[in-house]
């Protein structure tokens, strides 16, 4: 990025005002003094138009003529190069059309070919246009004056006076009742904007975040719909389970209906972990919540609600992949690393007559998942 400096910088005001003619012998002949490559304004002898011309060609930062400016063959070469890229663009466009209709959209080549063809179509045009501007269009150093944005003191004074008069005519100062009732009406109407906001939902929070879908005696069902039996999970194994709630059917028998919709999964997802015998250290008041080394904890992270599911069976750590909170399973799923501060809530496990795992006491004893303002 170097260029020749043919005239000293800042050559005085006259330089800025002079309109330069193009180098290379334009038809109107060169004027005296250093030349600038540039485009003159549309030739006109109208001095009136000249007044509105906001730009001038300046006598600053001259550069030597390019090969294209002085050598006819170089100019032709540049033109051919540009035409080559425009042609490449046509080929790219045609390639895109052909690939789009003829290509097999199930094949791995389809998208790469389309992207490449489109890239050539627009890129060819782009490279051609840039070369065109750089090589063949005249380089100019146009100068435009800036104007201060500040209005004159007089303009400001007149405007302010007029507005003040307007307000005077409105009479808000004199009519106290009008002013107050207008402000009141405005404030009330403004308050109305809250209404559509509140209409966004009919589901009021209430105590919804405090409860999940687990009920007393609910069986534990996997995402594939299998009820989990005692002994199915090996030591060192895990299983994600959801509630299958007991319902009484028409013939009076108890059936278990798995709740596997998104809402149930979102708050009731529970991870079963089978620890080696004897290593679980139940929290105070949670004796008997584990069955045969199996413990059940909420799978929803107490930090931001991701499913905590990276279980390391040797260290008995549960890792959340979103923000890397680590929970120590045998120690009541205590948060031992990362941004989570609360243990995962534990679910009391039981086994029913048929050997299936159930939620012994019903729901979790504390809200699962991330904290919220109303959580005590």
């Amino acid at each position: 990025m170097s260029e020749q400096d043919e005239t000293p910088a800042g050559g005085g005001g006259s330089v800025f005002d002079r309109v330069k003619r193009p180098a290379g012998g334009g038809s109107d002949g060169g004027s005296g003094g250093p030349e600038v490559l540039g485009t003159p304004p549309a030739p006109t002898d109208s001095t009136q138009l000249e007044e509105h011309t906001a730009w001038r060609h300046a006598g600053v930062a001259h550069r030597a003529p390019r090969a294209e400016d002085v050598d006819r063959r170089a100019e032709r070469r540049a033109e051919r190069l540009i035409a080559f890229w425009f042609t490449a663009s046509v080929i790219g466009t045609l390639g895109f059309i052909v690939a789009n209709f003829v290509g097999d959209k199930h094949k791995a080549y389809y998208t790469p070919v389309l992207g490449t063809a489109l890239g050539l179509a627009v890129g060819g045009l782009g490279i051609g246009m840039i070369l065109w501007a750089k090589r063949l269009m005249p380089h100019e150093q146009a100068v435009q004056e800036r104007h201060s944005f500040k209005s004159t003191d007089e303009e400001t004074a007149v405007f302010e006076e007029e507005v003040a008069l307007g307000f005077h005519d409105m009479g808000l100062g004199r009519h106290k009742l009008l002013r107050r009732s207008l402000l009141g009406a405005g404030a009330v109407l403004g308050g109305l904007t809250v209404v559509p906001l509140l209409n966004l939902t009919n589901a009021k929070p209430g105590k919804k975040l405090d409860h999940t879908h687990w009920v007393k005696g609910a069986r534990m069902v996997t995402g594939e719909g299998r009820f989990v039996k005692l002994g199915e999970i090996a030591i060192g194994g895990i299983e994600t389970v959801f509630p299958a709630v007991p319902i009484t059917n028409a013939s009076g028998e108890t059936e278990f209906e798995p709740l596997l919709d998104l809402h149930a999964k979102a708050d009731s997802a529970t991870i079963l972990v089978r620890l080696e015998p004897g290593i679980n250290k139940p929290r105070q008041g949670r004796d008997g919540w584990d069955v045969d080394g199996l413990v059940a904890y909420s799978k929803i992270c107490s930090h931001a609600g991701c499913p905590v599911s990276l279980y390391e069976q040797q260290t008995h750590h549960l890792l959340c992949p979103c923000h890397q909170s680590v929970f120590d399973v045998p120690d009541g799923c205590r948060a031992i690393f990362g941004p989570a501060s609360r243990s995962l809530p534990q679910l009391a496990l039981g086994v029913d007559d048929e050997g299936y795992l159930i939620a012994r006491d019903g729901d979790y004893t504390e809200p699962i998942g991330p904290a919220f303002w109303e959580r005590s």
């Binding site: 260029e3 090589r135 995402g223 719909g225 999970i233 030591i235 060192g236």
Partner: protein
Amino acid sequence: MTASPDAPEAADPAAEPAVARPASVRGRLVSATARRSRPASARRRRRSSTLVLSLALMATGVLWTVLAPSGSAQDSAADSAAVREGRALYLQGCSTCHGLNAAGTVSGPSLIGVGEAAVDFQMSTGRMPLAKPGAQAERKEPSYSQVQIDQIAAYIQTLGGGIEKPEVSEEALADADLMFGGELYRANCAQCHQAAGEGAPLTYGKYAPALTNATPEQIVEAMRVGPESMPVFAESQIDEEGATAVAAYILHMRDTPSPGGHKLGSYGPVPEGLLAWLVGIGGLLGVCLWIGARQKV
């Protein structure tokens, strides 16, 4: 990796687990009919032979534990050449850490009861013999041939039994239900091994390895034995059909070319963002410089 009396292999594998098929199961096995349409007899046959074999092996194990009072294993159970060879190899290459009786030392765990699946997994992935101590054994070129590994596995299998080496046939893989495998993979594997099987870090330098080089047998073995940090996925949780489907899904994911160009390691937004900055922004800044540059004469 210790066998326990009520470990799942003791459960009757032929018994169908109770399965509820509710109407509103998201991701439930809608194409179950497709899977069911395969001849059930083949599966049954495979299952019963597995059953017989496992019962036989279990009996062997039990007999061994009962009948072998002291270190005279060579005479009582090792009636095959393979086991003899395996023992020789074991004493030569493994006993330093795992002990002469495979009962473990301070530098290596006991191998009694781990089963041949664990031996095959650890040795065929090159994790054993251990290259260097660290947070986790690394996958590398195996130091033993498959024949030798099988011999050592056979020897270890005689020491208290354990999970046997699974067979994953080409036909079973070809027959496997990819949708089922995908569902199981996303439910049980993706959390550690990442959605595309590229692996991910665990705590303190441990990691779930990429599944790039895992063979179908190694995949199933890992599920069954739960090597190192990995949890165990017993047959009562994911049956043979499911395990094969998982392996088939992993192979499919790995071997199918990406429809959208280069996979960028299939590692999600991090490499994508890096590419957007390095190539996207970097390249376009280059174009800016080119447009802004004056031609030298």
